[in-house]
C-alpha cells in the first residue's frame, strides 16, 4: 500500500524518529531492535533503510531530535516568570521518573551514548551545547557565558538524581532523592526555593 503524496517520506521519517525516541528511552538503544521499532511505527523492517543508512545513523538522528525538542520545550516554558523552579520540580518529579519514554533523553541514555560511535557523541554534544546555552540565557540573561558552567553542574545533578531514583527499588528513598536534589539544584541556580522542607502530597 504505497499511496504517497509529496510530504509522505519526510512525514514517515519523522514518525520513525518519534517512535525511536520513545522506544530508546524506554528499552535502551541496545534493547530496541530495528524490526520491532518499525512495527511500532506501522511499517515493515525493510522500509527502514530508505530513511536511514544504518541503526547508528538513526541513533545519531534520534539523539539530535530529542535534545532539540527538549531545548524547544524549555524555551517555551521559560517565558513565564518563576518558571525555572517549576521546570526543575517537574524534571525531578515522580511522574518524570516513572515515564522515561516521554522524558529527558540524557537521563535515559547517557551511559549508552558514552559507549556509542563518534557520530552519536557528536550529535549529543551539539544538542547539549544548544540546550545548555538556551538555559543559561534564560537563567542569567545578563551574563549567560559564566552561567553556563553552573547550568551544566545543576543539570548533571538533576540527571544523576533522576537516574538514581529510577534504579532504586525503594520508592520512599527514590522520592527523597528527587526532593533533595531539587532543593540543591535550585540553590545552585540561584533560584528561591518556595516549597516546604517536606512537601505534602498535593
Amino acid at each position: 500500500m504505497a499511496r504517497y503524496g509529496k510530504d509522505q517520506k519526510p512525514a514517515t521519517r519523522q514518525r520513525i524518529l518519534d517512535t525511536a525516541g520513545r522506544r530508546f528511552k524506554r528499552s535502551g538503544i541496545d534493547g530496541s531492535g530495528v524490526a520491532t521499532l518499525m512495527a511500532d511505527a506501522g511499517l515493515t523492517n525493510g522500509a527502514f533503510y530508505a530513511h536511514f543508512s544504518s541503526k547508528d545513523d538513526l541513533v545519531a538522528a534520534t539523539i539530535g531530535e530529542q535534545l532539540a525538542r527538549q531545548c524547544k520545550n524549555f524555551v517555551a516554558m521559560a517565558q513565564r516568570p518563576g518558571s525555572v523552579e517549576t521546570i526543575v520540580r517537574q524534571y525531578l518529579s515522580p511522574d518524570h521518573r516513572d515515564h522515561p519514554d516521554e522524558g529527558c533523553p540524557s537521563a535515559a541514555l547517557l551511559d549508552e551514548i558514552g559507549r556509542s560511535t563518534p557520530a552519536v557523541k557528536q550529535s549529543y554534544t551539539d544538542g547539549l551545547l544548544a540546550f545548555v546555552d538556551a538555559v543559561a540565557a534564560a537563567v542569567a540573561p545578563d551574563d549567560p557565558t559564566s552561567a553556563r558552567a553552573t547550568v551544566l553542574d545543576a543539570f548533571a545533578m538533576m540527571v544523576g538524581a533522576l537516574q538514581i531514583s529510577r534504579a532504586v527499588s525503594d520508592e520512599v528513598l527514590a522520592d527523597e532523592i528527587l526532593d533533595g536534589a531539587a532543593a540543591k539544584a535550585l540553590a545552585l541556580l540561584g533560584v528561591a526555593d518556595t516549597s516546604p522542607d517536606r512537601p505534602s502530597a498535593d
Copy 2:
C-alpha cells in the same frame, strides 16, 4: 581439564564476577554476551550455569559486588585526613572518564539498572545505601544521618558529570565539566577546595 581443589568453585565464581564487572562497565549489560564473557574468564559458555542461574542472576550479583568493592575502596582511602578532596578529584578525573571498566559502576550502568528486573534494582539499592552511609560517616562523623542527603546529592552530581563528560566528543568541554563539577561537589560536601580555578596540567 577439571583439576579442582576445594576452593576451585568459589574462586571461579569470583573470577566470573570480576570479568563481568569489567565487561559490563565497558560494553554495557545488553552489550555483553554470556559466551564472550566466559571466554574472557578463560572458560567455555556451558560452565556459566554451574555458577549462576541466569544472566540476570549474574547481573544482580555483579552490581552488588561492584558497589561493595567501591564502598571498601572508599573506606580504605577515607582514613587519611583531607582525603575527601582527593577522592572527589580522582572520581572526576580524565583518567576515570577514559577507563570506565575499572571505574564507578553507577556512572557506567545506571541507565541499564533503571531498566532492569526488581532483583537487580534491589541489589543496587542495598549496595548504594551501604556506600552512602559509609561516605556520610566519613564526611560528617558527628551527624551522619543528616549528611546522607547531601552525600546523595553530591554523588548524583558526580555521576551525572562523569557520564556527560563521557558522552561528549569535545575533550576540552569534557574536562571543563569535570573541573566544574568537582568544585561544586566539594562545596556541597563542605570541603575546602585547595585547587586553583584553572588547574594546570600536572
